[in-house]
Subunit: 311 residues, 2 copies
C-alpha cells in the first residue's frame, strides 16, 4: 500500500568527526521516503526552490518515489547547517534558512488520494493537521515532531496527536511532551493524548515501542505492551543526520508492505526501522541509503535478530 | 558450581525521589551474592565491623550464602551515603567512610578453595589480583572496577585485566579505560587488555556483551560477537544502588549453574543479569532481592524475552 509523506526536502551542510559535506540532499521527507521506498510505493509532498534540479530529482526517481507533490517555488530550498563535533547524539545548529519553506502550503496531488498510509514528518503542526484532514480515508497515520513545536506550539500539536496512530519521537521529546521524567510514565501520558502507539527513539541504544491496549485493529490476546529494538553497535558513525527519519521510513514502509497489522508485524517493523537507521549513519546525507540493496537490508535484519535473540 | 566473591559488605544511607533509607545493608559483594544465590552456591570474602550483627548475618544465611570468609574487625563497617535526586542514573556521594575496609586483607577460608567461579567485585585492584593469584584453579573469573581505579591505579588494574575472563563495567568506565569515545572501538581496546568478554552496562538501556574470538571454551562456529540484553522499562525506580552488582550476580550465578559455557549460555546469562538488575531497583537496598522467589525470576525472564523477541 502506498505511503504519502509530507515534510521537508532540503539541503544540509554537515560537519562531523568524519569530515564535512556541503549541501547534501536532506530533509525529513527525503530521508523518510528513501528508506520507505525499499518496502512500498512512496509519494512526497514538499516545497523546494530553484536550487533543486535534475540531480536531486534523479535521487527520488531512481527509487521510484513519486514527487509530483514536490512544489517548485521561486527562491531557495530549505537549508540547514549543523555539526556533531562534541556529541554524535546531538546536532548543533549553526544556521537555518527556511527560504521557500517559510510559506509552505502543502498541496496534495489527486493521484495521492488513494494512499492508505500517511506520514506527517516534523513540520508545523498546523500543516500536519491540514494534510491529515485532507486525507480522511487513510488507514494508518504516523507522525514526528520536535522540541520547538512541543514547547511553543503545544495547542496545535495536541490537535495533531489526537489523529495519530503512531507517534515517533526521541527520549527528550517524550519527556518534554509528557512533563514526566520516567519513561514509562511519560509514555502513558503521551498515549493518553491520542496516539495508539508511541515509539521512543534512544539513538545508539535503539528504540522502545509502547502500545496502548487499542493499538491493533485485530484486537484481542495481545498482552505485551512494550517492545524494544536495539541499535547496531557501529564502529564508525559518519553522519547521524536523518537516522530518525530513516528509522521512521523503515518502520512505516514495512508496515505498509504488510497485509495484516498484527503485533508481530509491528515488532518486525521496529527491527526494519533500526536496520534503516543503522545504514543511514554510515555515510553523509542520503549516500548510503541511495546505494543500498534489499539484500543488504535483509542480511542486516538477520544481524539484528542475532544481536538480541536467545536462540 | 560454587562462586567465591570478594568485595565490600557495607551500610548505605540512600536518598532518592522515592524517599530516604538509613544504613541499609549494602556493598557490592552483598548485592552480588544475594542475586547469585538464586542460581548457585555463593561464598563471600569481605571485612565488616562490630556494627555487622545477627540481623545482617541472617540476610546471608537465609539465602544459604557462606560467610565464613567475612572477617570481623574492631571498628565500624564500610559506610556510604549518597543520593540520586537529580539523576537516577548517577549517584551523588555525600560521605564515604572506609572504616575497617581501609586495612582489608582478604583471607580465603580453606573451604572456599574448590570454588570454580571467582568474582572480583569493585575493590582495590591490588587486592583483586592477590585473591585471583590465591585461587589459581578457578575455571572462570569475572570482575568489576570503577572510574577511580581506572584513573589513578591504572597499572595495578591492567595487571588484573590480564587475568579476567569477563569484565563488567558501565559505558563511562569502558570509554575511560579505552580512551575511545565510540563504544565498539572502546570494547575492542578493552578486550585487547585481557578479558575475553566485556559486558558494558547501559543503565536503563540494558547491557551489551562483546565477545572476543576466544571467548568460549567450546571454540568454533560462533560468528556473532555482540549481544544486547534490554533493561525492563520500569514505572518507578525506587533505588538504583546495587543494580550493577545484582546484574553481575544474576549473570555470573546463571553461568555457574550451567554445565556448558556455550554462546547460548552467555546470552541467557545476560538476560538473567538484566532480570536481577530490574528487581534490585524496585525497593531500597537489598529489600526486593531478599523477598524474591525463583518463580518470579523465571516469569520476568519470560517478560524480557517477549520484550525483545520477534516471535
Amino acid at each position: 500500500m502506498a505511503i504519502t509523506v509530507v515534510g521537508s526536502v532540503a539541503f544540509d551542510s554537515i560537519e562531523t568527526p568524519a569530515g564535512r559535506q556541503e549541501r547534501c540532499l536532506g530533509g525529513a521527507a527525503t530521508h523518510f521516503a528513501l528508506a520507505a521506498s525499499f518496502f512500498t510505493d512512496v509519494r512526497v509532498i514538499a516545497v523546494v526552490g530553484e536550487d533543486f534540479g535534475p540531480e536531486q530529482e534523479a535521487v527520488f526517481h531512481k527509487r521510484k518515489i513519486d514527487i509530483r507533490g514536490i512544489e517548485r517555488a521561486p527562491g531557495k530550498s530549505f537549508f540547514w547547517e549543523g555539526s556533531y563535533l562534541d556529541n554524535l547524539n546531538e546536532a548543533r545548529t549553526h544556521n537555518t534558512e527556511l527560504n521557500v519553506f517559510a510559506s509552505f502550503e502543502p498541496k496534495i496531488p489527486d493521484a495521492y488520494h488513494d494512499s492508505e498510509f500517511l506520514f506527517l514528518a516534523n513540520i508545523d503542526p498546523v500543516l500536519q493537521k491540514r494534510v491529515r484532514e485532507a486525507m480522511p480515508d487513510v488507514k494508518l497515520v504516523a507522525g514526528d515532531t520536535m522540541n520547538y513545536w512541543i514547547k511553543d506550539h503545544r495547542a496545535a500539536l495536541l490537535e495533531v496527536l489526537k489523529g495519530l496512530d503512531v507517534l515517533l519521537i526521541n527520549d527528550t521529546e517524550a519527556r518534554m511532551l509528557a512533563g514526566a521524567n520516567n519513561l514509562v510514565q511519560a509514555a502513558r501520558a503521551v498515549l493518553a493524548l491520542g496516539p495508539r502507539t508511541l515509539i521512543v527513539k534512544h539513538g545508539e541504544y535503539g528504540a522502545t515501542a509502547f502500545f496502548s491496549s487499542h493499538s491493533f485493529s485485530t484486537d484481542g490476546e495481545y498482552a505485551e505492551h512494550i517492545f524494544r529494538a536495539p541499535a547496531l553497535p557501529l564502529e564508525e558513525v559518519v553522519d547521524p543526520t536523518g537516522a530518525g527519519d530513516s528509522f521512521a521510513g523503515g518502520f512505516f514502509g514495512y508496515l505498509a508492505s504488510q497485509t495484516e497489522l498484527s503485533p508481530a508485524t509491528f515488532r518486525r517493523a521496529m527491527f526494519y526501522g533500526s536496520v534503516m537507521g543503522s545504514f543511514a549513519v554510515e555515510r553523509f546525507g542520503t549516500e548510503r541509503i541511495q546505494a543500498l540493496t534489499r539484500k543488504e537490508i535483509d542480511d542486516r535484519f538477520t544481524v539484528f535478530r542475532e544481536l538480541t535473540h536467545l536462540d
